[in-house]
């Protein structure tokens, strides 16, 4: 893609976002909605800018990020190792597949009350919920990626004298990385969503808590601020993951 086409694409993509903000401003300016129900965009963004430098708000962001990263990291480690193990080991496969089949479509938010009762109201229950939700997309795509590794590659490695244990790390894992990263991307978005929801349901800190407090006290401006913040966080994390992906996949034909 040349740079000119890229610029056109960026301009095209900016249109709907600009349009959305324009309509938002218009609704306010022409008085279709009172500012208590829909605050004007200028007010929301200046409030957001102001909040970003506020230590209390920064602390809320840090809390949310801590839960998000811990949960996501555990989910990646568990998901990748279980997925690879299930794809390479018939016995583990027989055990993991039916359990995953049952647990994957279960709406994990419904389990949140159980986590609350068992693990308490602090970080643990929220992190567990993030793990429970982010685990399955990662596990399933790892499994898919590892089971579609070409058998010929493995045979060649064996013929070249690679011991079985090393085949796992030198052939199967690298070959399934594209698929694993796709799973991680879905898992990351889900982690963002879930950590926010968990904080909305019961929490004393974090971005979700900020939203709920604002909703209870009818501060519409403050309701938009955490939503925009989580959207920005999602964008940044997604960008980082993309950068990591293009670094990890630099040798692959289509990245």
């Amino acid at each position: 893609m040349n740079s000119r086409a890229l610029t056109t694409d960026l301009l095209l993509g900016a249109i709907p976002i600009a349009l959305l903000i324009g309509v938002w401003q218009a609704i306010n300016s022409f008085g279709y909605a009172p500012a208590t129900l829909l605050p004007p965009p200028g007010l929301v963004f200046s409030r957001l800018f102001h909040q970003l430098f506020d230590p209390t708000f920064q602390f809320q962001i840090a809390t949310t990020l801590f839960r998000l990263f811990t949960g996501f990291a555990i989910a990646v480690v568990l998901g990748v190792s279980l997925g690879i193990a299930a794809a390479t080991h018939p016995a583990i496969n027989a055990l993991v597949r039916p359990v995953v089949r049952v647990l994957a479509p279960l709406p994990k938010v419904a389990l949140y009350p159980a986590f609350l009762l068992l693990l308490g109201f602090d970080h643990e229950s929220k992190i567990t919920l993030v793990v429970a939700d982010a685990l399955f997309p990662i596990l399933l795509s790892t499994y898919y990626g590892a089971s579609t590794v070409e058998q010929k590659l493995i045979w060649s490695a064996m013929a070249a004298g690679t011991p079985p244990r090393q085949i796992l790390f030198k052939v199967v894992l690298p070959a399934s990385i594209p698929s694993i990263l796709t799973g991680c991307r879905i898992g990351l978005v889900i982690s963002c969503i879930v950590v926010f929801l968990a904080e909305m349901i019961t929490s004393t800190n974090g971005l979700g808590f900020v939203l709920v407090t604002a909703a209870r006290t009818f501060q519409t401006v403050d309701m938009f601020v955490p939503l925009i913040t989580i959207s920005l966080l999602g964008l940044i994390l997604n960008g980082l993951l993309q950068a990591g992906r293009s670094y990890l996949l630099r040798g692959f034909p289509e990245a």
Binding site: L12, R97, P107
Partner: protein
């Protein structure tokens, strides 16, 4: 993938196994707020027998089905168009990327201010939650359609619309259905959370009210009911999917052999 004897009952065995683990854990922990699996199962008939809870659960399902159907009806054409036209994709992609990480159920408090606590807000939230994965997967599916097939279609005189329906839609169908399956799970999640935030009716309402009132049997019984809903819907969807796209089944049923 053909489910033979053992694979057919394996999920059932897994269910039983999980319940046994739960029972054992509950007996070992002896915690007041963690009832045993048997206690929770015993509480199910009283919930399903109660007319009001049944109406609540049916209302949840109705909202979910409407939201899901609307989302699929709108997102699939949009995703396909994005996949086939660079301009359309460039137009919508950044907007969708901004919306994707926002938890849709978190919009509930704001939407409630505008549309009230009724069915409309909850259905809208479910609609938003389902549409994004469906758009994304339709987009990916349409983008991966082989150019040669479209050229052949064009050479045989199919118009753009006909090509869309007779070549691109079937070719992208496996990917679209994957998106719909993710959407189905998300619809359930959004359903439960939206009802938890707007405590007015529905399965989520029963669940979190029971939690607030300390009726732990009911909490865990509702978890089983909602979970069973998820598993049943997913199994039904999987059946339909398998019938529609039997031709594209990947043959990766065999575990790799090298050990």
């Amino acid at each position: 993938m053909k489910p033979t004897g053992i694979w057919r009952v394996a999920p059932l065995l897994a269910c039983l196994g999980l319940l046994v683990v739960w029972q054992a854990a509950a007996l070992a922990l002896r915690n007041d707020s963690f009832p045993t699996a048997l206690d929770a199962i015993r509480a199910i008939p009283s919930i399903l027998g109660d007319k009001e809870s049944l109406i609540n659960i049916m209302a949840s399902l109705r909202r979910m089905v409407i939201g899901f159907a609307l989302a699929v009806a709108i997102s699939v054409p949009l995703g396909l168009m994005m996949g086939r036209s660079r301009a359309v994709a460039a137009f919508f992609n950044p907007l969708l990327m901004v919306i994707y990480p926002v938890p849709k159920a978190a919009l509930m408090p704001i939407i409630m201010l505008w549309l009230g606590v009724g069915d409309v807000s909850k259905t809208l939230v479910i609609f938003l939650g389902v549409s994004l994965p469906v758009i994304y997967h339709s987009f990916e599916g349409a983008r991966a359609v082989e150019e040669k097939m479209i050229w052949s279609g064009a050479a045989m005189g199919l118009s753009t619309v006909q090509r869309m329906f007779r070549i691109i839609l079937p070719a992208a169908l496996p990917e679209i259905l994957t998106g719909c399956r993710t959407g189905l799970v998300l619809a359930l999640i959004t359903m439960v959370t939206s009802e938890m935030i707007a405590r007015q009716s529905g399965a989520g309402n029963i669940l979190f009210n029971a939690l607030d009132m300390g009726q732990y049997d009911t909490v865990f019984a509702m978890i089983i009911i909602v979970g069973a809903m998820g598993i049943c819907l997913d199994t039904a969807f999987e059946r339909i999917r398998a019938r529609l796209v039997r031709w594209s089944e990947p043959s990766f049923n065999m575990p790799l052999s090298f050990s």
